[in-house]
């Protein structure tokens, strides 16, 4: 399975944010999307997830040799701050979520609700507490759980893992590694070390275009310097 981006453009009034983004993402890999603040990472994610209309170009999903346009329901979007209805318990929310997605799931895929919680090692007691009282990490687990239920081919993660404690971060990393076999995972981040540690490939969004960072560079000690050089504007250089 592959996600092909072809010449995606997006502008806000006169400001061109994406100027022909071309790239192909593959199943089985975790991609790190790097870019400076305001480079358009979130805009690109919003275009892919259908939150925003692109001004030009296309996103295609190639599965078993068949290529079709990427549909909204193909994409799962994990927000940097998890957004869940706080007046429900974890259990109630999951029950509701499965209910409303039931028709899109294959009958043999539907598992008892408690199974999902087991998968995320959320205790029996926590399942019946209000989401309002969940910690940040717990809320993130809940959000990831939703993708284990709906299984969208493409999962976009906006700045995940940045606010986790070490234990939860490790749990999430392991989970992402498990999930990558069946999904195309792309996550945006500012943190180079995290990207280097978790990703199989690093993609840089700069001047409205995507380019990949060579794999051997990813492991090398000069990686940080090279990426920073890549991201810096000529204007910044003049200022230095």
């Amino acid at each position: 399975m592959r996600l092909k981006l072809e010449g995606i453009e997006k502008r806000f009034d006169a400001k061109e944010v994406l100027r022909g983004v071309d790239y192909t993402f593959e199943q089985g890999k975790i991609y790190g999307l790097l870019g400076r603040n305001g480079a358009g990472k979130t805009t690109l994610f919003n275009c892919l997830s259908g939150e925003m209309k692109m001004d030009g170009g296309s996103a295609l999903l190639e599965d078993n040799g068949v290529t079709r346009p990427l549909a909204e329901e193909d994409v799962g979007y994990v927000y940097s701050t998890p957004i869940l209805p706080e007046f429900l318990t974890g259990y109630e929310f999951l029950r509701f979520f499965i209910d409303i997605n039931r028709e899109r799931m294959k009958p043999d895929e539907v598992r008892p609700i408690d199974d999902y919680f087991e998968l995320m090692s959320i205790t029996r007691e926590d399942r019946h507490r209000l989401i309002k009282s969940y910690s940040h990490g717990m809320k993130n687990k809940m959000q990831m759980l939703l993708f284990l239920i709906t299984k969208p081919p493409v999962i976009l993660l906006d700045e995940p893992l940045t606010s986790f404690d070490v234990v939860v971060a490790l749990e999430m990393k392991n989970l992402l590694r498990q999930m990558k076999a069946d999904h195309i995972l792309i996550f945006s981040t500012h943190i180079l070390q995290l990207a280097a540690d978790l990703c199989d490939e690093l993609v840089v969004l700069h001047h409205g275009k995507l380019s990949s960072v060579p794999l051997d560079l990813l492991q090398s000690p000069e990686m940080e310097q090279s990426v920073i050089k890549l991201l810096k504007d000529e204007r910044d250089d003049e200022n230095l």
Partner: protein, 534 residues
């Protein structure tokens, strides 16, 4: 003056930016107005001047409306047989009771809890004394200026010279300044903030209005307020006001007074947070409110999908959603008592008026239901506690029509309860006044219930189609405000129109059905796109 200018500048800047932002959302205009407009300060200053002008005109319009409708109209309506000097006495009496006493108790600025005060003093660190002096001078200068033209205009109608009217306005202004002093002293003595004592304030308002109009209906009751026309009384009041003004200008304890009116004392709060808190407190929930009783839990077990979610939402937010309902039922109860009391006092006159009212004045129900139907509070709670998070999920947005229907069902039931209570109260009053059962009472019930459906549809329809709230619950979509104001205006027109009751009922029922159908079609077609977090 500088303090005041800063406050106004911030306020208008926020308004102008908001207006530009939403005007750019309209089709056609977006192309005409570029984003760079936000940076054009010259243009924005022009618009802000316009905004100031409109606000000022609004103030004048309100004053004219007040003088005409609250003070003058009752006199020609109920006291047309009064001699001219009695008309002036009654006018001065009403003005004295309402503007001097009722407003003096209920709307003093000195300890009034206000968001602007919080922002200025707590967040922007303005000096409390500077802020309060600026606010008070502005308030009373404006009070005098805006009231004067309206009073001069109505003066000849009640046989008063311009000089009399001007003195009356000046006396009113100064006595209101004196009231500020009284509020402050009361607070110093007892630590209590008078304007926050809702029970007392409402008691004064109700008793005040009865006292203001009573001489019109009961000639034996003296229009004691006419004393404000006497020059010794005027001298005393103006002197008292002058004394208060000097005292307030020299007062050094504004910090305590402002603290009492802006409770949330946290230097780390930013402005957004402050605004957010003010709005969110209106939808605040306690942990214990979320507990379900056994009957609810049992009911929930059977639900599915959106019905399940909706059931949980209404069960867990029962307190929040019932509160406006209970208040309205209490108001209707109060009106019932007032109605019965009125019949007791003026039995024969009212019984004579009743058939006429029932024949042609059912349109009054529109304005009653406009104010009595709940919707804003409920949609706000829906947004803040449920939709703000769930709207992030596409599958939820796509099912907008499904949850619209489920919620409409709830809202209609809730408003129908209010409508039924209102209709029942009116029925009791009619029967008590000696009017036998007749077809018009049935029409009251049908119209009230239809109107409850109409307003339920209206609130939910606008919520789904315009989604006016932001995640901080602060900035409202002006299109939403305009749509609501138009409806408010139309309801206001119903105050004066007379239509045979049967025709009115048919029209209301017809419009309700039309609005319902329109809402269903439009929500089904567009809500998946329009119902989202902005």
């Amino acid at each position: 003056m500088k303090t005041f200018n800063t406050m106004m500048a911030i306020q208008t800047s926020i308004y102008v930016n908001m207006i530009l932002f939403y005007v750019r959302k309209l089709p056609f205009l977006r192309k005409l107005i570029k984003e760079s407009v936000f940076a054009k300060t010259g243009l924005k200053r022009g618009i802000s001047l316009l905004v100031h002008l409109i606000v000022l005109l609004g103030h004048f319009a309100l004053s004219f409306a007040y003088v005409w409708m609250v003070l003058y109209l009752p006199i020609i309506r109920f006291g047309h047989d009064l001699a001219e000097e009695r008309q002036l006495a009654q006018f001065a009496h009403e003005f004295a009771v309402i503007s001097f006493i009722v407003a003096g108790v209920s709307s003093a600025a000195i300890l009034e809890p206000k968001r602007g005060k919080y922002i200025a003093v707590k967040l922007m660190r303005m000096s409390p004394a500077g802020y309060m002096k600026a606010t008070l001078s502005h308030k009373y200068a404006l009070f005098f200026i805006r009231l004067l033209p309206a009073m001069l205009w109505v003066g000849p109608l009640v046989g008063a010279s311009p000089w009399t009217m001007a003195l009356l306005v000046l006396t009113a202004t100064m006595s209101r300044v004196f009231w500020e002093y009284v509020h402050l002293k009361w607070f110093e003595k007892t630590g209590a903030v008078l304007v926050k004592q809702v029970g007392l304030v409402w008691a004064v308002i109700i008793i005040g209005f009865i006292a203001a109009y009573l001489p019109l209906f009961r000639p034996e009751v003296p229009a004691f307020g006419e004393v404000v026309l006497l020059w010794p009384v005027q001298c005393v009041l103006i002197a008292a006001g002058f004394f208060a003004a000097v005292y307030l200008a020299r007062y050094s304890g504004y910090r305590t007074a402002v603290d009492a009116a802006t409770k949330r004392d946290d230097p780390f709060l930013d402005m957004r947070q402050a605004v957010q808190n003010a709005n969110q407190s209106s939808v605040k929930m306690n942990e214990s409110d979320y507990e379900l009783n056994d009957a609810d839990s049992e009911k929930m077990r059977s639900g599915n999908g959106y019905r399940y979610l909706n059931g949980l939402f209404f069960a867990r937010h029962r307190k929040l959603i019932r509160r406006p309902l209970n208040i309205r039922l209490a108001v209707i109860g109060g009106l019932l008592v007032a109605g019965l009391a009125a019949i007791y006092l003026f039995g024969s006159e009212l019984s004579g008026m009743l058939p006429g009212l029932l024949e042609t004045r059912l349109p009054l129900l529109v304005i009653a239901m406009f104010y009595l139907s709940t919707g804003e509070k409920v949609t706000r709670a829906m947004f803040y506690h449920c939709d703000m998070s769930l709207l992030r999920y596409r599958v939820y947005r796509n099912a907008a029509f499904t949850h619209f229907l489920l919620r409409l069902e709830r809202l209609v039931v809730q408003n129908a309860v209010v409508a039924a209570a209102l209709a029942a109260a009116l029925t009791v009053v009619c029967v008590w006044a000696g009017g036998a059962w007749n077809g018009n009472i049935l029409l009251i019930w049908i119209s009230a219930l239809a109107l409850s459906v109409f307003f339920s549809v209206h609130h939910l329809f606008l919520y789904y189609l315009l989604q006016p709230y932001t995640t901080e619950l602060n900035i409202r979509n002006p299109i939403f405000t305009v749509a609501n104001s138009i409806l408010g205006g139309l309801s206001g027109i119903c105050l004066i129109i007379r239509v045979p009751s049967l025709i009115f009922t048919i029209v209301v029922a017809g419009l309700t059905i039309l609005y319902l159908l329109l809402a269903l079609v439009l929500v089904r077609k567009y809500a998946t796109r329009t119902f989202r977090v902005k």
